[in-house]
Amino acid sequence: QEELKIGIIAALSGGGTAWGLSLQRGVQIALDEVNQQGGLKVAGKTYTLKSVAYDDQYNAAQARTAAERLVNQEKVKIIFGPVGSPGALGSLPVTQPAKVLQFVDGYAPAILKNEWKGAYIFRVGNSNREFAEPIVKWIKQTMPEIKKVGMIVPNDATGQAAVPILAEAYKKHGYEVWTEYYERGSKEFTPLLVRMMSQNVDLFELNSNAPGEAGLLVKQARQVGFKGTILQSGGAGIEEAIEIAGPLAEGFLKYDVIDSSLPQVKAFLDVYNKKYSGIMGGLAPVYYNATHIVLEAIRRADSLDTSKIRDEIEKLGGYEAPIFGKVIWTGKDDYGVDHQLFHAFLIKEVKDGKGIVKTIVTSQ
């Protein structure tokens, strides 16, 4: 049996460690599954899948060298990651001319909209473009009394890319929006919350904050006496936020990607919990899902030629992926290429310390 190397670029140190680890684990679980079933059959050969994971320290220069090494030394044809815009943008100049398929998650539009026209790159998680609109609509329907929205935003690539889109969506539907940026890494938000509350906002929108920060914001907002609704559009992983906010998380509404009552999701969770301890990061299921999509495309192409695989991926619409179900590719309007995965998402509400599914949004 031959070995097929699959590349992973993930932040395994630095600010994005939590994201990087869950990316790597999501991919690994999917690869393990295939290997246990005897490997991947392509063009008459059976391959054992082996991951090669390199750290990008959530930094463009490191992502570049990691990509260079995966592409030119390890000779991989497929790379999962990195997560986050700096790494994704840093690695593009290596992977795209080399026709290496890359599956990233990061909010910067330039990831898909660039000089290579996004040829060999796919974004495998919803970005704000995909979910902002439906969420705002849902709020309008279910909570008509809300007039003013407040956002406290990390002043980094993620915040700066995501929030304008979200704010635009709110404004389009007639909401007043107040935003305030903070430096990544701050933990004390009370001053900003006091500031926000004097604006009389009805809805506190946690946007693209990392789960830990989101939890802190919920906790501190309640501690300073914020009585309105708190909701987060975007980000993944409600458990971590609940863990941080504790009892003060009651009633918190949050975007999420997995419905653990579905049997295929449950199966994945079981495997994850057996293999790793602690709370699962939201990117693990996203990348588990993505890996299966890619492997399916390879099977269908029955070739390791990346152009052929890419074409198959593009044609994969309707394939039942293990976590998100039917694959839908979008993005032509925004990025000029349909390489954006749109997947169903949920809004959960915290009740008795658990995230309960409130609604499922599939497609427009």
Binding site: L21, Y182, E188, T190, L192, R195, G225, P247, G278
Partner: protein, 289 residues
């Protein structure tokens, strides 16, 4: 915007922030003052303090009054191994210590990632009451931290200025060889200072994790704040730590409430730079030759 309750809230937040900064900075300044060691692993010990409290209090349910000091004690005691293995190579070597301990910081942080994963968790609060006095909201745990910070500061000052060993520590900080010639066993003094410093870092880390969140990387920000507070106040000066901590805590609270988060960072960093330009040896430090 400038209503009385908001102003009062600003003050409450300022006290809360300052207390944490002061607690973290105290140990840092002690190590620097005495051993000329720039403890870039200080944040990692704060992180370990957080995990210790998480297990002792959060998981095993030991009463808080015992759990908080016991957790810090556990970290400080086990850190003595690192004192033997790592720190003693770096005493009186400022630059080498800076870089070497940066390495230690990495080791501790990523060992924690291996052991406990990178995700954030919370340590249950000691008291979750929220007091409300005339519209001002005061989480009771902030009061607790402020009280502990004040008591520690006072104890620290008294210790270094009015006890034999405190005096000996300061003397050893200035001239090790001559301190020995006064009958001071410097190895003991170093170990004592190290122990106290790590104890304080771990204690502060416990509070920090409890107020905010616990994760392997949580130490970076407290470390940065300690670094600023200590130098601003004047290296090795305990009243300097108090003043630096208060200044930074209050300006952060005030500025971010009234002018927003980014402005706050810009302005307070800018002010620290100006202060140092006009007082090049820190607010309460002494000029050196």
């Amino acid at each position: 915007m400038f209503s009385q309750t908001v102003l009062a809230q600003v003050i409450v937040n300022g006290i809360g922030l300052s207390s944490i900064y002061i607690l973290v900075a105290l140990g840092f300044t002690l190590l620097f003052g005495i051993m000329r060691v720039v403890n870039f692993a200080h944040g990692a010990f704060a992180m370990l303090g957080g995990y210790a409290l998480y297990f002792v209090y959060g998981v095993w349910g030991v009463p808080y009054i015992i759990a908080a000091p016991a957790a810090a004690l556990a970290v400080a005691t086990s850190a003595l191994v690192l004192e033997r293995l790592v720190y003693r190579h770096f005493y009186q070597k400022m630059f080498q210590s800076m870089i070497g301990l940066l390495g230690l910081d990495m080791v501790l942080m990523f060992t924690a990632v291996l052991l406990w994963n990178a995700h954030e968790r919370s340590v249950p609060p000691a008291i979750s009451d929220i007091l409300q006095i005339g519209g001002v909201i005061i989480p009771a745990d902030k009061l607790l931290i402020a009280a502990v910070a004040m008591a520690t500061l006072l104890a620290f000052y008294l210790f270094t200025h009015y006890t034999r060993y405190g005096l000996a520590m300061r003397a050893a900080a200035q001239d090790v060889e001559i301190a020995k010639a006064q009958g001071v066993n410097t190895a003991t003094i170093y170990r004592l200072a190290f122990f106290i410093a790590i104890f304080m870092a771990a204690l502060a880390g416990g509070f920090y994790a409890q107020t905010y969140a616990l994760s392997p990387l949580m130490g970076e920000r407290p470390l940065m704040m300690a670094f600023i507070v200590v130098i601003l106040g004047g290296m090795g000066s305990i009243p300097g730590v108090a003043l630096g901590g208060l200044l930074l805590g209050f300006s952060e609270s005030f500025l971010s409430t009234f002018y927003g988060g980014s402005t706050s960072v810009f302005v307070s960093f800018g002010v620290v730079i100006l202060l140092l330009i006009f007082r090049p040896w820190g607010l309460l430090g002494t000029p050196e030759e």
